[in-house]
């Protein structure tokens, strides 16, 4: 079935209403429309997860899990918050749980043993957090920022979201978003290591 345009009496509708209408159609059984949500919010979800410190090698799998969880719980989405805000909560919680699991996971094999066998350990496979950013100096400086600055900065610059969109998604006051981005940028400038700059 092809996706129909969502209109109300032939007029363009409020994006929030459109979002809710889309979700209701998916809940009712038009599950193929979920692809629109994946397309629209995929980058955002991945950026939220990566900005929380999840290793780049794990980000895509976790983003996939976030979308499956969101699909299963979509019946509970009542449009009281924006869809991005709802997804943000799921993504942030998934990242937090993942990091807790990683921290608890016992080191079952020693690096020496793995080296003898000619295998890579998980530590060697996973790039250090922050390597999802191309510029190494920027990545290192970003990692030194607190999460409350890192996530808004990533969403503003990498996902090109507006202050208003970030405020709605993170349920953060608009002025706080502005302040955190400004302070984050100042802190970033301080942490940038000129020796590591590849410009």
């Amino acid at each position: 079935m092809t996706a129909r345009a969502i209109t109300l009496g032939g007029k363009a509708v409020d994006p929030a209403l459109e979002e809710l209408a889309l979700c209701r159609r998916i809940v009712a059984g038009e599950s193929q429309l979920f692809a629109r949500i994946v397309d629209q919010h995929g980058g955002f979800v991945a950026s939220v997860i990566a900005s929380r410190g999840v290793a780049p090698a794990d980000v895509e799998d976790l983003a996939q899990q976030v979308f499956i969880s969101a699909y299963k719980a979509l019946g509970g989405f009542r449009g009281e918050a924006k869809l991005s805000s709802w997804l943000f909560r799921i993504a942030a919680n998934a990242a937090q749980s993942h990091l807790k699991r990683q921290a608890r996971r016992p080191r079952l094999e020693s690096m020496e043993q793995a080296a003898e066998d000619g295998r890579e350990t998980a530590d060697q496979r996973a790039e250090p957090s922050g390597q999802w950013i191309g510029n190494r100096a920027l990545a290192a400086a970003m990692q030194r920022l607190p999460e409350r600055q890192r996530t808004p900065l990533a969403l503003y610059y990498f996902e090109e979201m507006s202050y208003e969109e970030i405020s709605a998604a993170m349920r953060m006051n608009l002025n706080t978003v502005r302040t955190q981005i400004r302070r984050g940028k100042q802190a970033l400038a301080k942490h940038l290591d000129p020796a590591a700059l590849d410009i």
């Binding site: 979920f34 895509e60 719980a73 909560r89 920027l138 400038a189």
Partner: protein
């Protein structure tokens, strides 16, 4: 190119603007939709079951009763011989050897209600934090 020519904040801004978001693989949507295709419509998926505080307390009480019964039935069940339980009009006294605990029943009821409320709030809060529409 020397970095000393740049204002550090301008440089940070320039570097940030040069980056793009996390690059998802081209088949990311296909992989998500392949999993979605295996699932029923969300309307038919029951909400995740959570252990209610009442059920939790019931389970705990059942486990205690089972444990107590097992201790009585075991050959070494004599360890309970020294346990004296006394239920007065408004007091519950429990003594074992030289140790004894006495609890006012009203206090016990208030404590139980408080714990149940706390459990209920925690369960509701964790659910709201995970998925809030």
């Amino acid at each position: 190119m020397g970095v000393e020519n740049y204002n550090r904040e301008e440089l940070a801004e320039r570097l940030l603007r040069a980056e793009r978001g996390f690059a998802l693989s081209p088949d990311f949507r296909r992989r998500v939709m392949a999993q979605v295709a295996k699932l029923p419509p969300p309307a038919l998926i029951p909400p995740p079951r959570r252990l209610s505080p009442g059920l939790l307390c019931g389970g705990l009480a059942g486990l205690l009763a089972l444990g107590g019964g097992a201790l009585l039935l075991l050959p070494g069940g004599g360890m309970l011989d020294g346990l004296a339980l006394e239920l007065a009009a408004r007091n519950l006294s429990l003594s074992w050897g030289s140790s004894s605990v006495s609890l006012d029943l009203l206090t016990a009821a208030a404590l139980g209600a408080g714990l149940a409320l706390l459990g209920g709030f925690s369960a509701a809060a964790s659910r709201l934090r995970l998925i809030s529409g």
